[in-house]
Symmetry: C2
Subunit: 362 residues, 2 copies
C-alpha cells in the first residue's frame, strides 16, 4: 500500500464540479491499485478572495508545499474582474507557479480518434497528431519588472503602461533542457523552438541558448520557427510538430490554439514542473467557464487527465496513469460526450455522469 | 486622366516576381480606367543591404515620402539572418512603418468561395467568413525602450535579455478610433478588442481606453477577449468575428493564424495607414518565401489585392479596386490555382501565368 498527499485546489466556476469528479476517479483507481490518498483541500482564486481577501492565502501555499503534488482545477470569473491586478484570481495562480518554481509547463496535445469530428480542422490533418508544448512558466512578460501605468513626464496628464519581457540565460537553459530531454525520449526526437528572433532581443538570446544546448543532444533534430508562422503552421500542418519549446506569453497563445486540434479545451491536461524541490502543479489548460458553472455541463476529462499526469510525473505511477487514460478512452468509445465535444450520433452526458462512466470503467 | 505616383518596393525572395506581376495588373487596369502610373522603385530589406549596407536607405525613405502610396512585396531571408538586429531586412520594414507613422495595419480576412477546400478548416465553419484585423503597428514590444542584452549585475557572467511592451494612451486611442470607425461602416458593427488584461498592465490600459471610446460609438457592439482565447476562437468559430482590434505583437500572431481561414497566406493583403500625413503602406501579409523564390511558384494574389487596397484607401478609386478584385475572383472561378492553393480537379499555374490570366480578365 502506498500513500500520497495531494493538495487539491478546486478554485472557481466549474472548478469544484470537475474536481469532485476527478477525486472520485482517483479514489476508485486507488482502491484497485492499493493507493491511499490524503487530499488536502485549499483555497485559490476567487474562492480564496471571497473567504480571505487574498487569491493565494499563506495557508494554501503551505498546504501545497507540504504535499507531493498540487491538483488544481481553474480560477477566475467576472465577479472579480474589476479588482486591481494583484488581487485578482489569476494573480493567485501566477504566484503559485512562481513560488513552487514550476518553470516548465508541459501541454500535451493528442487527438483522440473518437473525437476527430469534434475538431474544426479537417480529419486527415489531425488524425494522429501527437505533440507536446513545453511552455516556460515563471518568467517573460508575465513576471518581468518594471511594470506599471504611469503619467508621461510632460505628457499633459497622458499615461503610459508598460511591462517588461525578459529572460535570463539560466531561465532559458533550464526549460530548454526539459524540452531536449523530452524530445530525446520520444520516437521522433524533434524539437521546434518558437520565438520572434527577427524582432526581439529576448528571442535572440533565447535562440542562441537553445542552439548552444543542441550540441549536447545530437540525436535531437532542432528547428526554430517565428511565432507568427508557428500560429499558422499549427493549423496548417499540425503533424509536423513533435516537441514545441516556447516562452510564457507565446506558449499561452499557441497552446490554447492547439487545443482545437483535440476538439476542445475541455480535453487537455497540463503539468507544471520545477527542478524537483517543490511539488508539481497539475491543471487543465481551460478556464473556469463561469457561463456554465453549476449546471452539470462541464467536461471533467481535462482535470481527470491532469490527475493522470500527476500519477505519471510526480507520483511515479505510470501504471495507474495508464489505467485512467484507458478508462477515458473507453468511455469515449462507448459514445459518451459532454456538450463541448458532442457530435452527431453520440450520447450527451453531464459532468457527473461522465465521471461515473469513467469510474465504472476503471 | 488621373496620374498617381506610387513607391514600389519589391524587396527580397519572391518579392520581385510578385511585384512584377502586380505592376502588370496595375498597368492594364490603368489603361481601362485612364489612370496613369508613375512607379518609383526603391530598395528595402536584404536587397538594400546588399546594395548599400542599410535595410532602408535614406533615398528609399525619400521616395516613399514623396509618393501617394507605398506598395511593398516582402523582405528577409536566411542570407541576412546572422546580421545584428538593427541591420537585418526586418529592421528596414519596421523603420519604414515607424517613419511613415503607419500605426493602423488593416488585415481583412475573407474566404473565397472557390477556395473553401484549400483551408485546413471544415467547410461550413469558414464559408462566408468576413473579418478584419486592425493591428497596431508602430508601438508595443516591437518598438518599446529600453531593450537589449546585458550582463546581470553580480551574475557571474550571466546575461539577461529584455524588451519593453508599452502603450501610451494616445497610441491606443488613435488605432482604436480606426477600428471603431471601421466597425461603424460594416453591416454587423461589431468590434472585439483582444488583449491579456488579466495579466498585463499594458493590456489593462488598452482595455480601459477602448471602453472609454465606446461611448462615442453607441451603434458598435464592443466586446473584449483574452488573446489566448482569441487564438482558439479564430479556429473554433471564426464567423463570430467582425472587426478585431489588437496590439502589434498579438496582431502579428493572430493575423497569420487567421490567414488559414482563407486557405493560404498567399491570398491576404494588408494596408498600413496613419493619420494621412504620410502615404499608406500596402503589402501582402506573407513573407519572402526564400525556398520558392525565382521558381515561378509564388502566389501573386496577396500582392495584387494589396494594390487593390491601395486604390481603395489611398488613391480613392474604389471602382478600380473592385475591378481588380473581380478579376482575381474570376480567375479563381476558372479553376486556376498557384501551388499553395492547389486542390483536386483544379489547374495549377505559375506566378506569371496567374498574373497573365488576371490581366486578360480585366
Ligand atoms: C489564467 C491565466 C493567468 C493563465 C495564463 O495566462 O497563464 C491561463 O490562460 C493559462 O494558460 O494557464
Ligand atoms: C517581418 C516581420 C518583422 C513582420 C512583423 O512581425 O510585423 C511580419 O511578420 C508581418 O507580420 O508583417
Amino acid at each position: 500500500l502506498s500513500r500520497h498527499r495531494v493538495a487539491v485546489l478546486p478554485g472557481d466556476g466549474i472548478g469544484p464540479e470537475i474536481m469532485n469528479v476527478t477525486l472520485e476517479v482517483l479514489r476508485r483507481v486507488g482502491e484497485h491499485f492499493h493507493v491511499e490518498w490524503e487530499f488536502a483541500e485549499a483555497l485559490i482564486g476567487g474562492a480564496a478572495i471571497d473567504a480571505t481577501g487574498d487569491p493565494l492565502p499563506m495557508e494554501s501555499l503551505a498546504i501545497c508545499r507540504s504535499s507531493e503534488a498540487v491538483l488544481l482545477a481553474c480560477v477566475g470569473g467576472p465577479k472579480w474582474d474589476s479588482l486591481p491586478n494583484k488581487q485578482r484570481p489569476e494573480a493567485g495562480l501566477l504566484r503559485l507557479r512562481k513560488d513552487l518554481e514550476a518553470f516548465a509547463n508541459l501541454r500535451p496535445v493528442r487527438t483522440f480518434p473518437q473525437l476527430l469530428d469534434a475538431s474544426p480542422l479537417k480529419r486527415d490533418l489531425i488524425a494522429e497528431v501527437d505533440l507536446i508544448i513545453v511552455r516556460e512558466l515563471t518568467s517573460d512578460v508575465y513576471f518581468g519588472e518594471p511594470r506599471g501605468i504611469e503619467f508621461i513626464p510632460e505628457g499633459n496628464g497622458e499615461r503610459e503602461a508598460y511591462n517588461t519581457m525578459s529572460y535570463r540565460e539560466s531561465e532559458i537553459d533550464r526549460v530548454a533542457k526539459v524540452a531536449f530531454e523530452l524530445a530525446m525520449s520520444r520516437p521522433r526526437q524533434q524539437l521546434c523552438s518558437v520565438d520572434k528572433a527577427n524582432v526581439l532581443e529576448t528571442s535572440m538570446l533565447w535562440r542562441s541558448r537553445v542552439d548552444a544546448m543542441a550540441a549536447a543532444y545530437p540525436q535531437v533534430q532542432l528547428s526554430h520557427m517565428y511565432v507568427d508562422n508557428a500560429a499558422m503552421q499549427l493549423v496548417r500542418q499540425p503533424k509536423q510538430f513533435d516537441v514545441i519549446l516556447t516562452g510564457n506569453m507565446f506558449g499561452d497563445i499557441l497552446s490554447d490554439e492547439a487545443s482545437m486540434l483535440a476538439g476542445s479545451l475541455g480535453m487537455l491536461p497540463s503539468a507544471s514542473l520545477g527542478n524537483g524541490t517543490f511539488p508539481g502543479i497539475y491543471e487543465p489548460i481551460h478556464g473556469s467557464a463561469p457561463d456554465i458553472a453549476g449546471q452539470n455541463r462541464a467536461n471533467p476529462i481535462a482535470c481527470i487527465l491532469s490527475a493522470a499526469l500527476m500519477l505519471r510525473y510526480s507520483l511515479k505511477r505510470p501504471d495507474v496513469a495508464d489505467a485512467i487514460e484507458s478508462a477515458v478512452s473507453a468511455v469515449l468509445d462507448r459514445g459518451y460526450r459532454t456538450a463541448d465535444i458532442m457530435s452527431h450520433g453520440m450520447q450527451q452526458r453531464g459532468c457527473i455522469e461522465m465521471g461515473e462512466a469513467i469510474v465504472e470503467t476503471l
